[in-house]
């Protein structure tokens, strides 16, 4: 098999591969920076919590409107935002820490979702429906993902400064501006939005993977914020492409393949990463002159 056959031909021959690639690319653009910030804020598990919070919302949307892109997105968005904003407000307005209030809110959302789904008594396997398929991205889904990515990047550009300041020195930001709280909540809203977009392509749980794994991986290579964002986006995109090709050539399910490729990249980075990887710590390195 030539390199062309292996890497390019699948995308040339099949539109669904091109669509999947564009979908993953759009997701990566939004997920890259968000993942980096989640990691730097020590909120890596928040993405996972949010994905659980979205699940019942999307499920409720499905129960009321069937397999409708907008109903499911809206349901997920509302559930996710309620949890994100609720947890954020409680954390900022009371003495309870963010992680505890987040856990409280998403567990309530999850339980409520399961309850509502059970009451409706549908036999349709909701989990199956909620595992999106990146191979079946239609125009509406593609537009939704692209729109979400655009909103994400523009909004991030707007809240970039307060967001960074809120991470580095929240007390200082609080002393010069009130933007800290709102920018944090807007940031969480963006995370929700991207998970909602991701769930049509990958399912919510795997969408978190595309967000967090590249961020954690890039930490082993660079130490600068902008570089982290760029590298993480790049790794997310490459994982998407490699995962699709793996699924194409090896016949593995596409969603898990994409996330597993990102996982392999993470594993390699843990071992070989020059910035704090296992080997770089074990091997004696020449040091500079004082």
């Amino acid at each position: 098999m030539t390199l062309y056959d292996a890497l390019i031909a699948p995308f040339m021959e099949f539109e669904f591969m091109r669509r999947a690639l564009i979908g993953v690319f759009a997701l990566a653009l939004g997920a890259g920076p968000l993942g980096v910030f989640l990691m730097l804020r020590r909120m890596s598990l928040t993405g996972d919590a949010m994905s659980h919070a979205i699940l019942p919302g999307a499920a409720i949307g499905f129960l009321f409107a069937g397999l409708n892109l907008y109903a499911m997105s809206l349901g997920g968005l509302i559930a996710g935002l309620l949890v994100a904003v609720g947890a954020g407000v409680v954390a900022r307005a009371t003495e309870l820490k963010e992680d505890a209030s987040m856990a409280a809110f998403y567990l309530i959302s999850l339980a409520l979702g399961v309850l509502i789904v059970s009451l409706r008594g549908s036999n349709v396997d909701l989990l199956h429906v909620l595992f999106g398929t990146v191979l079946g991205i239609d125009d509406a889904t593609l537009l939704l993902i692209a729109g979400i990515t655009t909103i994400t990047l523009v909004t991030l550009a707007i809240i970039w400064r307060p967001l960074v300041m809120d991470c580095v020195d929240p007390v200082f930001l609080g002393s010069v501006s009130r933007a800290g709280g709102p920018s944090h909540i807007i940031f969480l809203a963006l995370v929700v939005l991207n998970l909602v977009g991701g769930f049509h392509a990958l399912g919510t749980l795997l969408a978190v993977g595309l967000m967090m794994l590249p961020a954690a991986t890039s930490r082993f290579f660079v130490r600068d914020l902008s570089a982290l964002v760029a590298l993480s986006t790049c790794i997310a995109f490459c994982s998407g492409m490699a995962g699709l090709l793996l699924s194409y050539h090896m016949g593995t399910p596409s969603g898990p393949s994409i996330v597993l490729v990102a996982g392999v990249a993470y594993g390699l980075a843990v071992i070989f990463g020059p910035a704090g990887g296992v080997l770089s710590r074990l091997l004696p390195r020449r040091h500079l002159e004082a």
Binding site: F16, N123, T133, L135, G136, G251
Partner: protein, 335 residues
Amino acid sequence: MFSRRFMLAATLAAFVAPGLARPAFADDGKMPVVATFSILGDFVKQVGGDRVDVTTIVGPDADSHVYQPTPADAKKLTTAKIIFVNGLGFEGWADRLAKASGTKAEIVVATKGITPRKADDDEHEHDHDAKGHEHDHDHGKKGHKHDDHDDHKHAGHDHGDQDPHAWQSVGNAKIYVSNIRDALIAADPAGKDSYTANAAAYTAKLDALDAEVKQAISKIPQERRRIITSHDAFGYFADAYGVAFISPDGVSTESEASAKDVARIIRQIKAEKIPAIFIENVSDPRLMERIAKETGAKVGGALYSDALSDDKGPASTYIEMIRFNANALSNALSQ
């Protein structure tokens, strides 16, 4: 997700239910019988008429393969005089449910006397290697996600080599009818005349339906009688009426699709110039729509395979269902 709990609850109900069991005949004098799914239920209704009270376990638009019995189902069984099952491994949960409920009802296999098709007939030669593939997917995926469905599905129709969807041929439907008639007469000899008359009348309707379908299909050019559908349920229909149903493996209701599978299907549709692609009433349509767009094949809407629609739907009885499917096929395949 919940089935383990339901199974436990069902077992519990099994201890309680025998004490609650009502007399074999309900108050209104009708004989209570149970059919496992909606199509079979329709047959029993047609033959039994006013003399029987038919309850179905898996209702309209629901998927029998992955059905999870509830305690209420166990209770239905305990009061029934006869339990009609499809057999051929279609509803693997039924035997266990019947045992668990402690019912004294006779279990009647409605497909008795039908020559079963092999699930992998030579008409599906394209799919041979892929079939093994699908099983792999199922195991790997369900290991973590569909733990509880495992039992049902594998005790169900995936496992055996026989294709259980025998009702898809109208000729077989007549055998169902005669089996049901015999079983009803055996249980309720007083109604013999009524059952015999009902069965005869219904069989006549089925003959007319059979002719109607054959005529509709015959209008389709031979080389266009090929469709892709997401679920391998139309083997008997294919044998009876000469339409090839090609199922894209790896895109079934249970396993997540790989890019390789989708690519192969698209190539296949293009290479064999398959004119139409059908989506079932119980599976995820997004992927099929994508494949249709990419190949230029027509999307033929839904075909009803394992379940009837509800009363308001286009396929609330067996005859309507077959007629609906035949119309859908001829609309999509004729130029």
